[in-house]
């Protein structure tokens, strides 16, 4: 299946799928959604930070610890064999979910951040020198800025940034000039966690290919929300975090092109990642184990396997459409609020989140008052300070959606914001 660039035309949207029944059924699978906060039913709108977990994932973790907890790849006893089989099965499920040609190309990391660092240290350290350039964008999460800045200090390459327009999209007119024959790597975010922009990933990859640059896609906010097919997109590297897609914390994924992964040196040294260790030296293990030193996050990987199966069952097209419906509604309702400024493009160009500022009221105060109403939103710079600098603000508040959110929850958000404005009214 090809990557479906978000279909935003409602004609394709099968309304009958987003029925209240369907939604209620889905919500019932997330125990935490029953919670009350400050006496109100929880409205969880901080899904870009981390998502809630369905019963299927919670039970998978529980079963692992109750029934077959053991180290993997090390024992010949029954428990270890069961744990190893489940761990590798999870890798296969993740590979299927992103349409990876082989599970060997799915490296388990702690999170997206570690996956980017793995590429920086294992691939970057071997390929980047003073003559070279790495291109990232002004729209990146800190996790796709800082590793390159650290590496730049050491290797002396030039780090360049694709600027952002006032609308919160990448300034693609600058691309030709910024991508040069010196560019070794173009690393960019697929969907922004602040402005929400869905970047034209095919076009960006094609442009990088023209100058022979490698491509890293930060898919932290896309893989959880829309169908992503790594064979159709064909990036060199693509990263995401399990906890943002119904999975546990402590598990993330690096997908990589096979030849590149095979040629790369390990990131960390230790057990499991070697084939042979003598006092004279070591030989690396095969993929993916070369990059998985030490005892991995076994339960978390198995939990992520359960999460991607859950998501596939719900349907990634459905999730995308549902979030789009919520986002469009939220965008319209928020835009009506006086003094409220939405960061980023209109609903047709964005994923399922809306970051905003309210004139004269600090985002932390907005979030604190919403919290009293049982509504969880994020406030701060969302680990993306350059975007906020670009808009000349220190912070923003952000509502981000997932498959279990409802239109009524958007109404609760709007009511909450009215309360914020009342509280601060001069």
């Amino acid at each position: 299946m090809a990557l479906q660039t978000p279909r935003t035309d409602t004609a394709l949207h099968d309304e009958t799928q987003v029925t209240p029944d369907r939604l209620a059924e889905l919500r019932a699978q997330f125990p935490i959604l029953q919670r009350r906060v400050h006496g109100r039913s929880l409205v969880y709108l901080d899904n870009a930070a981390t998502t809630q977990k369905p019963r299927a994932v919670i039970q998978t973790l529980d079963r692992y610890y109750r029934e077959y907890n053991a180290n993997v790849h090390r024992g010949v006893h029954t428990l270890s064999e069961e744990a190893t089989a489940a761990y590798e099965e999870a890798r296969q499920r993740v590979a299927r979910f992103i349409h990876a040609p082989s599970p060997r190309q799915v490296i388990f990391t702690r999170n997206a951040t570690e996956a980017i660092n793995l590429v920086a240290y294992s691939w970057g350290a071997a390929h980047l020198g003073p003559e070279d350039e790495v291109l990232i964008t002004e729209m990146e999460h800190h996790s796709n800025i800082v590793p390159w800045q650290i590496l730049q200090e050491r290797l002396g390459f030039t780090l360049r940034y694709v600027p952002m327009t006032d609308q919160g999209t990448l300034d693609l007119e600058r691309l030709d000039e910024l991508l040069t024959e010196r560019t070794r790597l173009f690393a960019f975010v697929h969907v922004s966690n602040v402005v929400g922009t869905v970047n034209p990933v095919e076009r960006l990859i094609a442009a990088a290919r023209q100058v022979g640059a490698r491509v890293l896609v930060d898919a932290s906010q896309s893989v959880p929300h829309m169908p992503v097919d790594v064979q159709a997109l064909d990036p060199d590297f693509l990263v995401f975090s399990g906890h943002k897609m119904c999975g546990p914390t402590g598990i993330g994924v690096l997908y990589g092109r096979r030849e590149l992964l095979e040629a790369m040196d390990p990131f960390l040294g230790g057990g499991d990642m070697i084939r042979e260790v003598t006092l004279q030296g070591s030989r690396w293990n095969e993929l993916p184990y070369k990059f998985e030193a030490g005892t991995p996050a076994i339960a978390q990987a198995i939990g992520l396997g359960a999460a991607v199966d859950f998501l596939a069952q719900v349907g990634m097209d459905w999730i995308w459409q549902h979030e789009h419906t919520l986002t469009r509604y939220a965008y319209e309702r928020l835009a009506e609020i006086e003094g409220l400024r939405i960061l980023g493009p209109g609903p047709e160009q964005r994923g399922g989140l809306v970051a905003f500022t309210l004139e004269g009221i600090h985002p932390h105060d907005v979030a604190a008052i919403l919290d009293r109403e049982g509504i969880a939103v994020r406030a701060g710079h969302h680990c993306a300070q350059p975007i906020h600098d670009r808009y000349g603000i220190a912070a923003s508040a952000r509502a981000s959606f997932y498959l279990y959110n409802t239109l009524e929850e958007v109404d609760r958000l709007v009511e909450g914001l009215e309360k914020v404005i009342q509280t601060f009214a001069l």
């Binding site: 600090h362 985002p363 932390h364 105060d365 604190a368 710079h381 220190a394």
Partner: protein, 126 residues
Amino acid sequence: MDDLYREAILDHYRYPRRKGHLPEPDIHYHDTNPFCGDEITIELKIQDGVVVDAAFDGRGCAISQASASMMMEEIVGKSVEELKHWGKEEILEMLGIEVGPVRIKCALLPLKVLKAGLYGLTDWPE
């Protein structure tokens, strides 16, 4: 309605006291809270070990700005010696609210700036 945003806090936020600058301050110190981008600058005039004039400038959330404004009113006339012993308790008593583990940094930022200005202590107050 909301204890975190009791009227006194909002009042200090809307109408900050002693906001601005002193002509020739003896002490001038500025710091930020990287978590929320709050900024506070404090200027003091000291005579015989006593704060005789004080002003603050800054931007940020209601908690940090109200904390600064209230603190300015409190410290004028107090000795530097006494202020050195101020900690979290004095600030919370002054604000009269319960502050959770995350927002406590907002509440304490003005005191942190004050202590750094007074005697170079740059750690968060206990």
